[in-house]
């Protein structure tokens, strides 16, 4: 512990900062036709940041800086790896999308990089202030990016809704945090945990926890704080939607769990029932709403609400039953990683499919598989993976989720049954997309071959996502190291 700075440990963040500045400068210098260089730089910078990350992972040491506020341990590294890889895929998806629509490329990549920086900071945060800064840095740029399609009213609406509700949730979160600080006089998680041990019945603590949960609930779009999600997802540019549903959601998720897990373990009788309720509602409402959707992006929006519910299940169940939170945390983490990969794949398919079909409605996608079999197969892979059908990666996420709820306790058994029923409901609407693509006869016109071929970068994004989805599905051992990372947090934090 101390104030020395380990530059290797900070290297990923520093590289992203450097890239971000470089992008901004390049955007000023470059001529309009050459602006695509900003994309190249952003992609290269993200890839470069993975190198020190790998070195740190091999090194395997836990590095604690700034008096324990900023910790680089296995857990943080896994999350940073996830954020960077996901960001890399989002950049690949963005490249052609942004360039062809002639949006402000330089600013786009600058803002996205800033958001990524926020997620990296968040992963290492071990006190309330750093956590808050990281989390806000993730969301801030996204208010702008959601409205990036300036000419489209829907995009304006997306940005506006997201901004107003986001700011409200931030205020609630901050208020909750300040109450916690007021009660304990501490900001560090471990110190708070020690100080709250004797406080469990304090009304102010209850209020503080509930406020924070509401704030986080907005960030992860858990029911009943999900109303902004479908509209924002639909209106935002699709790569940003992918980013919202993966990186930004994951950041909110991890922040919520880490605060509850590390700072407030003693108060689990307050937040555990609330999480149980959030999980059950998110799964059920998300799935039932998704059933009725006819627009693929909206369908994915509700699906991501429901998936957030599934992700909460292990943690909520274990907390309610006072069981081992470590295993539950591990299950949530692996679910998060697998969800990130397959959901990014699904959005990449949506971008490619939208170019081909010129529409985002399910009906318009009818018969796509016959015109473009490869895209059709990819649709089947990602959507069935989201549904949890073996041998695609999603099954292992669902499996771990179910494994962690096998605790003999009425509340957890109820949650397990709700989850099992929801898994079947979810299958129905994921299958609806596959059905449209493969089973239905074509309704609309398809764009011709050459104009609609996915750009090279998008193909790469699809390739990475599909390779990971199949590989993890067949041999999940390659991803289970993620679960071990959760234990580091438990023992080392």
């Amino acid at each position: 512990m101390g104030y020395e700075i380990d530059y290797l440990a900070l290297a990923p963040e520093l590289i992203i900062v450097g890239t971000l500045i470089l992008v901004l400068v390049l955007d000023l210098i470059l001529h309009r036709e050459n602006k695509y260089w900003t994309a190249t730089v952003a992609v290269a910078g993200t890839a470069l940041a993975l190198i020190p990350l790998g070195m740190l992972a091999i090194n395997g040491e836990t590095i604690s800086m700034f008096d324990g506020s900023y910790v680089v341990d296995e857990f943080a590294l896994v999350l940073k790896g996830l954020f960077l890889v996901a960001a890399y895929i989002v950049f690949l998806m963005s490249h052609h999308y942004i360039e062809s629509e002639r949006y402000y490329q330089g600013e786009y990549y600058f803002l996205l990089l800033a958001s990524i920086l926020g997620s990296l900071v968040m992963a290492s945060a071990r006190d309330l202030i750093v956590l808050f800064i990281g989390l806000e840095l993730v969301t801030g740029p996204l208010y702008l990016l959601a409205g990036w399609r300036k000419g489209d009213v829907k995009s304006n609406e997306a940005s506006m809704k997201y901004f107003i509700l986001g700011v409200l949730s931030t205020a609630l979160l901050l208020y909750g945090m300040s109450l916690l600080f007021g009660l304990t006089g501490e900001v560090g998680f471990t110190e708070i945990a020690a100080a709250t041990a004797s406080l469990s019945a304090e009304p102010a603590l209850v209020v503080s926890i509930l406020f924070m949960l509401v704030g986080f609930g907005f960030k992860v779009a858990a029911v009943p704080f999900h109303f902004w999600a479908p509209d924002t997802y639909e209106g935002a540019p699709t790569p940003i939607t992918a980013y919202l549903s993966v990186n930004s959601k994951a950041a909110g998720f991890v922040a919520m769990l880490i605060v509850m897990y590390q700072a407030l373990p003693g108060a689990s009788d307050i937040w555990a029932p609330a999480l149980w309720l959030l999980a059950a509602l998110s799964m059920t409402v998300g799935n039932l709403s998704a059933l009725r959707q006819t627009n693929i992006v909206r369908l994915l929006a509700y699906s991501s609400v429901a998936q957030a519910g599934f992700m909460l299940v292990p943690f909520a169940a274990a907390a309610v039953a006072d069981a081992n939170l470590e295993e539950a945390f591990g299950a949530t983490l692996i679910y998060l990683v697998i969800y990130a990969i397959m959901n990014l794949g699904a959005f990449a398919v949506v971008i490619a499919g939208a170019r081909k079909t010129q529409t985002g409605t399910l009906e318009g996608w009818s018969g796509l598989g016959r015109v473009d079999p490869i895209l059709g197969v990819l649709t089947a892979v990602f959507f069935f993976s989201l549904a949890g059908i073996p041998p695609l990666a999603g099954w292992f996420a669902k499996f771990e989720m179910f494994r962690s709820v096998m605790i003999a306790d009425p509340a957890t058994i109820a949650l397990a049954v709700i989850a099992a029923v929801n898994a079947v409901i979810a299958f129905y609407y994921y299958a609806k997309v596959v059905k449209a693509v493969w089973l239905d006869d074509p309704v609309g016109e398809f764009a011709d071959e050459a104009a609609a071929a996915p750009a090279g970068s998008l193909r790469l994004a699809l390739g990475v996502a599909v390779a990971l989805t199949v590989a993890i599905g067949i041999y999940p051992s390659i991803a289970t190291f993620v679960q071990d990372a959760a234990q580091v947090l438990a023992t080392g934090g």
Partner: protein
């Protein structure tokens, strides 16, 4: 052949999927190359399974010892292994699976349902083959679950894309659906519902085994050993776990009242899809009962046995009566499966060696016979463009060979002695007369009587179908139609089935020799082996 000891089963399971990957690289237009590649890989898988038979030690050994065993770490984090192996119970089913797959590829050589696309169809068939073969050799619950689920996707697409396009009114919906879409999603949702609970059951076993000497395990042999020692004796635990697994397997079999997906799926599926569904997919459920439910939870199996027997008998009677109400030939055959699988489940429910032997031979026979019936129904509707029995009369005059084979198969299906279908029905009734000690004689003997009535009803509807389809004068509407009799691809696919039906009918020892040791020792291990009648007396009596 040292290497084959370790690689034999892996080859049998994964050769088809290797073929599927290769097919992906062959041009869609190049149909010959596609078919040849698919055939090559199914034949290779079949040869691998034959190799397994050749090297198989029929001396057996005690139950829960497996041959060609491979046990490698697969998912370390959840203690799940790639553990495969065969014994006398799974071997016949494995060979049946690889064998029928070869015939299905041969048959599909010139039979493509709309919208054709042989490439996609063959790829799906090969993936299906891997899932089915894998289920029969998996000795790890997670591995079993994965293979059990893998078969869903290809079958969903087969029914959904190549299935019956006629409209169908679904109760509760104002919209009219195409039959294929309705049947495909119904098939998937039913099975998924069952397997979600099955998975919960597996997980419960995993955690419960945590306090044993093995530690938490998904390993079937280890769990079987624990089961036979009475480790899972806690009645509430055993009840819920058995119930959860029952849901998963019973949907697949299917048992009354969870059978309603079957007539729709079978009728809507393309010919090859129905054949594979009937011949192999249904066996995954009954095999699960024998391999997992009975040995791991023997005490609970005793409690559930009368209940299973009652459902099985209801299935027999209900299936037969439903057959009598059908006008569609394919749907009739589909419902007959409900009845035949009822006999299989009745045999299993007796918990005796005779009953379980009856179940295994019943599964093999049903696979061969009903598979052939679906081939025939497919070929006939291919020619007549209808499956309405009322319009098909006089088939034997128009197509003598086809009619002859149909007559033969129907006889086999109704359980004519001397053909394969006889043994399963007869022996499961024998077993029901004398179930495991301690099971209610009243329930089982009543079941036997009702089952016997079921055999009469089976004969009734099969003969009735023959009369309507084969006999009589051809309807005037077929005059002037060029109706080709059986072609060479059909013959190549069907003759091996016919031969096997006769061989097993006259000489059931080919199956019993494989199964008896395993089954007897299974019953001994799980239920104390207190069986009154010995299997040998029945077999020798033949």
């Amino acid at each position: 052949m040292e290497w084959f000891e370790t690689w034999g089963l892996t080859l049998t399971v994964f050769l088809p999927v290797v073929g599927a990957v290769l097919l992906g690289f062959i041009n869609k237009e190049n149909e010959d190359a596609l078919k040849r590649t698919a055939l090559t890989f199914t034949v290779l898988a079949f040869l691998a399974s034959v190799g397994v038979v050749v090297g198989f030690d029929f001396g057996g050994g005690a139950y829960n010892t497996y041959q060609y065993e491979v046990n490698e770490t697969w998912i370390g984090a959840i203690d799940s292994n790639y553990h495969v192996g065969v014994d006398g119970i799974s071997l016949p089913l494995l060979v049946l699976s690889t064998f029928v797959m070869v015939l299905a590829v041969i048959y599909s050589w010139n039979h493509w349902d709309e919208p054709k696309n042989p490439k996609a169809f063959l790829i799906l068939m090969l993936i299906l083959a891997t899932g089915m073969n894998g289920t029969f050799v998996a000795l790890d619950l997670v591995l079993f679950f994965i293979f059990f689920e893998i078969v869903l996707l290809p079958m969903y697409f087969m029914i959904g894309i190549w299935g019956d396009k006629s409209p169908r009114k679904v109760p509760g919906f104002s919209k009219v659906f195409e039959t294929r879409l309705y049947a495909a999603i119904k098939f998937f949702l039913f099975t998924l519902f069952g397997s979600a609970f099955m998975l919960l059951g597996f997980l419960a076993l995993y955690f419960e085994s945590g306090s044993s000497s093995f530690g938490r395990t998904f390993d079937i042999p280890q769990l079987t050993e624990l089961g036979s020692q009475g480790f899972f004796a806690n009645p509430t635990f055993a009840f819920f776990v058995f119930g959860a697994m029952f849901l998963g397997f019973a949907v697949k079999v299917p048992m009354f009242p969870l059978h309603t997906w079957l007539p729709d799926a079978h009728t809507a599926a393309p010919t090859v899809g129905s054949v594979l569904l009937a011949a192999i997919l249904l066996k995954l459920g009954s095999y699960g009962f024998i391999r997992i439910s009975l040995p791991i939870l023997p005490d609970e199996a005793r409690n559930w046995a009368p209940f299973i027997a009652i459902l099985a008998v209801i299935g027999i009677i209900y299936g037969s009566l439903a057959c009598l109400a059908q006008t569609d030939m394919k749907r009739l055959i589909a419902f007959s499966s409900v009845g035949h699988m009822g006999f299989v489940m009745l045999g299993i429910a007796t918990l005796t060696d005779i009953g379980i032997n009856a179940a295994v031979i019943g599964m093999v026979a049903h696979g061969l016979i009903t598979g052939l019936l679906f081939f025939l129904a497919g070929s006939m509707s291919h020619r007549y463009h209808t499956r309405e029995m009322a319009r098909l009369g006089g088939n034997i005059k128009l197509m003598p060979v086809m009619g002859g084979i149909l007559a033969f198969t129907a006889m086999a299906s109704l359980g004519l002695p001397g053909l394969a279908g006889f043994w399963g029905e007869f022996m499961s009734l024998v077993a029901a007369y004398n179930p495991l000690d301690g099971l209610s004689l009243g329930v089982f003997r009543t079941g036997m009587v009702l089952g016997a009535v079921g055999t009469v009803l089976t004969a009734g509807y099969m003969l009735w179908m023959l009369q309507r389809v084969n006999l009589g004068e051809p309807s005037a509407e077929w005059e002037g139609h060029e109706l080709h009799d059986v072609d060479r691809f059909e013959l190549t696919a069907w003759v091996p089935l016919i031969i096997l039906i006769v061989v097993i009918g006259f000489y059931p020892k080919v199956i019993f020799d494989t199964t008896t040791d395993a089954v007897t020792s299974l019953v001994e291990m799980a239920f104390g082996g207190d069986t009154t009648a010995s299997i040998t007396s029945v077999v020798k009596g033949s």
